[in-house]
Every structure is written in structure tokens, then in C-alpha cells.
């Protein structure tokens, strides 16, 4: 047992009132739980794919860890206390699985647990080559989840589309997604601190002051990275962008600390963005992006504007219509999941109309904004 001495220190800092709501600290713990859940699901898949590869030590350790975490309450205090140790063990086991795969099968590739979003075979989505290309580009996927996150319910529509395009856009522009998003999120908070209540804040100005360039594509990409889905602590699951980055990192030479740092940094950027939007609402600040009012924007508008902008080069005039189609596809599934979760028909219908309209309006905005 670890011996601990009684400290002599007396805390002298004055008490300040605690902010109401979900604190950054709470989000940190919940996002680590979501990460543990995701890594454990990946480990489960690795065990299946390596069944025929002989290594009793790996299989024994992996099975013990997988079974324990699968049955455990990941938000229980005892587990939360050991989060970092558990994360390190999972990452070590996944690294061992790569070594085993290399020895046994001659290659090594950790894959995501994502499942493709299913479409009807008879639909326009399958028959029209342009639509097929669109969906191939977007690669909409769904995830197996069990945690509630801060929203306090298990997401019945754990699906995400467009993440592939976000990650690819950053790669194409040769800019680091995480670093850019984190820097921009802090820049927005700093500018907000210097905006008078009921004043005006221009997103492109904050971007220019931080990066000293005017780049609508990159601005919308950073906005999509941090604002097209909530932090994993909030949602209880790792959505598309963090899933893709995590898989990239697991297949890289990064060490455990570096992998966790990158995950935490993107989560922090997302948390900063929610605090930013929350504070904007509270102080009735007018938020604009290239002249467009965006106080009413939700994550759907952010993704739609990004897709309208970044894919116009490939899909030209068809782009806004295809962005709208994406909204209809996602919201149709969302409509059903709302009904299953007990939301009224009237409210579910309103949500469908409102949110599909977001794709229509913002997809068009992004398309025009990024005109050459």
C-alpha cells in the first residue's frame, strides 16, 4: 500500500462561486470514458481478426481487459480514478496486436469499428452515379455505442457523415487539423472577451487575426472540426472526425502520451467552441461569418456550409442539392430515432423540417462563399 504523508499546506485562495453546468473537468472525465469504450470495442475486433494467430499471452491479457471493460460501468468512481492507467493498457494491447498481426499475417492495420450507413438498393442514391460518388466521398457511418455522456441519454442515431472530407481537406491543405482547430477555438474565446454585450463578432476577423490569412475553406474546415459535433464527453461516443484521427494515430509511431494529447486537444477545441456559442447567446452578441448571421446555426449548418464549400470543385452546381440530400438522409434516420426515444410526432416533424432546411440554406451559403 502506498504511504502518504499528511500535508502541511493550507489552501489560501479565496472561494469563488462555481459556474453552473458541465465543467471542463467533468467533460474531461466523460470523454476519457468514451475513449476507453471505443478503444475496447476496437480491441474486441482485433481479438476476432487475430484469432488464428498464436500468442497466448496477448489473447489472455486482451480477453481479460476486454471482458472486464465491456461489463464495467465506465463512469464509476473507481474506474474514473484509473482512467489513464486503463487507457495506457488499452493502447499497449493495441500496439501488441499490431506486432502480432505483423508476425502472423505479414501486415498490420488497425481498423475503425464504424459501419456504413445503409441505403436502399432501389434508391436514387444507388442508381445515380453522381449520388454514388457523393456518398462514397462522404462515407456516412454509424457507431456502436452504450454511454450516455452529459446529454444523459444514449444517442439513438450515432451516425456521422462528412468527417472523411474534413480530414482530407486538412491533409490537402497540409495543415494540422487539431492544432488549427485548437488555436482557432482559443482565438474565438479571446475575441469574445473583448466584445461588448450585444456587440458584434466576425468569425473571419478572428480567423485573420490568428492566422494572418483569409481562407474561407480553411475557416469552414476548422469550424467543421470543432463545431459539427459535440465533445465526446457530451455525446458519450467518438464521432467521425475523432474516430478517423484516432485510427490514424493507432497506426502511427506516436506514443501513448502523444495519442492521448491529440485526442484531448481536439476535445478541448470542441468544448471551447460550445462555451463560445453559449456565451455568445448569453450576452446577445451578433455572430457573423462573411456577412451571414450565424446565431441560429447548429452543427448541421456548420457541416452543410463546409460541404457546400469544399466539394464544389468536384460536384459543381449539383453541390448544394447534394448537401440538402445529405440532410434529408440523416434527418430521416434522426426522425425515426426521435420517435423511438419518445419524442412527439409533432416535435419530431418540426425537427426534421428545421434541420433539413439548415442543410439547404447553409449548403448554398458555403457553395457561394467558396466560389473561385
Amino acid at each position: 500500500m502506498r504511504k502518504a504523508l499528511i500535508l502541511l499546506l493550507i489552501v489560501l485562495t479565496p472561494w469563488v462561486g462555481q459556474a453552473q453546468g458541465t465543467s471542463y473537468g467533468q467533460t474531461l472525465r466523460l470523454q476519457n470514458s468514451a475513449l476507453i469504450d471505443r478503444l475496447n470495442l476496437i480491441l474486441g475486433e482485433r481479438m476476432k481478426s487475430l484469432q488464428r494467430c498464436e500468442d497466448p499471452t496477448f489473447h489472455q491479457k486482451a480477453l481479460a481487459m476486454y471482458s472486464y471493460l465491456k461489463a464495467a460501468d465506465l463512469n464509476h468512481e473507481a474506474l474514473v480514478k484509473q482512467q489513464k492507467a486503463i487507457l495506457f493498457s488499452l493502447l499497449d494491447l493495441l500496439r501488441s496486436s499490431r506486432e502480432l498481426e505483423q508476425r502472423c499475417l505479414g501486415s498490420s492495420q488497425i481498423k475503425s469499428i464504424r459501419k456504413p450507413f445503409a441505403f436502399s438498393n432501389n434508391s436514387e442514391n444507388q442508381n445515380n452515379p453522381l449520388n454514388r460518388l457523393w456518398w462514397k466521398t462522404l462515407e456516412p457511418s454509424c457507431y456502436k455505442i452504450r454511454l450516455k455522456g452529459e446529454l444523459r441519454h444514449v444517442d439513438g442515431n450515432a451516425c456521422f457523415a462528412g468527417d472523411r472530407v474534413v480530414v482530407k481537406t486538412f491533409e490537402k491543405l497540409q495543415v494540422d487539423l487539431i492544432e488549427t482547430s485548437l488555436r482557432y477555438s482559443y482565438a474565438l474565446l479571446a475575441d469574445l472577451s473583448n466584445t461588448a454585450p450585444q456587440g458584434e463578432l466576425l468569425l473571419e476577423k478572428s480567423y485573420f487575426n490568428e492566422f494572418h490569412s483569409n481562407n474561407p475553406t480553411l475557416l469552414l474546415s476548422a469550424l467543421a472540426a470543432m463545431g459539427s459535433s459535440g465533445p465526446s464527453g457530451l455525446t458519450g461516443w467518438l464521432q467521425g472526425i475523432e474516430d478517423r484521427l484516432l485510427i490514424q494515430d493507432l497506426n502511427s509511431q506516436l506514443n501513448n502520451e502523444q495519442i492521448l494529447r491529440r485526442f484531448t486537444d481536439l476535445q478541448t477545441a470542441k468544448y471551447n467552441y460550445i462555451v463560445f456559442r453559449d456565451t455568445v447567446d448569453r450576452y446577445k452578441i451578433s455572430l457573423k461569418i462573411y456577412g451571414q448571421e450565424m446565431n441560429s446555426w447548429s452543427r448541421h449548418n456548420v457541416m452543410a456550409a463546409f460541404l457546400g464549400c469544399s466539394l464544389r470543385g468536384s460536384f459543381e452546381t449539383k453541390t448544394p442539392g447534394l448537401v440538402y440530400l445529405t440532410g434529408v438522409a440523416y434527418e430521416a434516420k434522426d426522425f425515426i430515432s426521435h420517435l423511438k426515444e419518445g419524442v412527439s410526432l409533432k416535435a419530431s416533424k418540426k425537427n426534421f423540417i428545421d434541420d433539413t432546411n439548415r442543410y439547404k440554406v447553409s449548403g448554398l451559403f458555403g457553395y457561394h462563399l467558396c466560389a473561385p
Binding site: 493550507i10 473537468g25 469574445l192 472577451s193 468544448y271
Partner: protein
């Protein structure tokens, strides 16, 4: 020289007064020998156990303290002081063994809610990193209007969180 000593003494008193006001007491128990222990949440959102066996008591010294759930076992070598606890390992009752007594610190529902929003120092290091970045940028930008504290310390309200999804 005399003036400086006096100023120092006054400052020490103020600091000592602030220290009392700085923490929120979540639970308290008295030892048979007259000393007392309190579970407190500090301004930094850490949870500490404060031990005071300094005044009008017959507590033997040194006293052995053991908190199994916190993996703590040691000798109290000071008349008054505090130790940081892990809030993630505290539930409704925290048993604390001091000398030959076991005290049960019972937490009210409100106190449990406070513990739920408390942090370990490891949690705080990430929070402090974020706060430091926000402060650095605000200092560079000059006077805050909406307020760095509001933005920096801001917690996400449930409404904002819910609106960001679905």
C-alpha cells in the same frame, strides 16, 4: 522595522481569515479528544480533508490516520493541516480512521453534488493548461469587455449542450 513586522502580522491574519472562507465545508466530525476533521472543497475545486488537533484537546500525538478508500495511511505530524483526496473515490460516506477512532463523514445530497464536480490535481493540470492559454490571449488582447473570467471559467449549460446535438 517595527512597522514592517506589524504589516506582516496583519497580512498573516487576513490570509488566515481568507483561508477559512476559501473552502466549502462538505462534512465535519469531532474526535473524542477534542480535535476535528472536515471534508472541504477548495476554490480550486480540489477536495481536501482538514485535520485540526491544535486547540483545547487531549489528542495524543503522533496520531495514525488511515483512509482505505483513498489508499492513505500515514502519521499526522502536524497539529493542523490538510491532505488532498481523490473526489472520484468519494461517495455518500467517507470512513476515516484516526488513532483508535473511526469517524464516518456523511455527505448530504448537496455535498455529494459538490464532490461530483470536484477535481483531482491531475484533472486540474489540463484545466489549468486551458485557463493559462485563455489568460495569455486575454492579456495580449488588453481589457476584457465580456470578461475573460466569464469565458474562461464558463461551464457549458445543459441547454447549450443539448442544442449542439441532433
Amino acid at each position: 522595522m517595527k512597522l514592517r513586522n506589524l504589516a506582516g502580522a496583519a497580512l498573516a491574519l487576513t490570509m488566515s481569515f481568507q483561508a477559512k472562507a476559501a473552502s466549502m465545508v462538505l462534512a465535519a466530525e469531532t474526535l473524542k479528544c477534542g480535535g476535528y476533521i472536515t471534508l472541504e472543497k477548495t476554490a480550486e475545486t480540489l477536495v481536501i480533508l482538514r485535520v485540526d488537533i491544535s486547540a483545547n484537546n487531549t489528542c495524543k500525538s503522533p496520531l495514525v490516520m488511515e483512509i482505505k478508500s483513498q489508499d492513505i495511511h500515514g502519521v499526522i505530524n502536524s497539529a493542523a493541516g490538510s491532505i488532498e483526496l481523490n473526489p472520484h473515490a468519494i461517495s455518500a460516506i467517507l470512513p476515516v480512521k484516526i488513532g483508535d477512532e473511526t469517524l464516518l463523514l456523511k455527505l448530504s445530497d448537496q455535498a455529494q453534488r459538490e464532490v461530483a464536480t470536484a477535481n483531482t490535481r491531475a484533472d486540474l493540470s489540463e484545466e489549468q493548461r486551458r485557463q493559462a492559454e485563455i489568460s495569455r490571449r486575454n492579456d495580449a488582447a488588453g481589457a476584457a469587455v465580456v470578461g475573460a473570467a466569464v469565458v474562461g471559467a464558463g461551464a457549458v449549460t445543459a441547454a447549450a449542450a443539448a442544442n449542439s446535438e441532433r
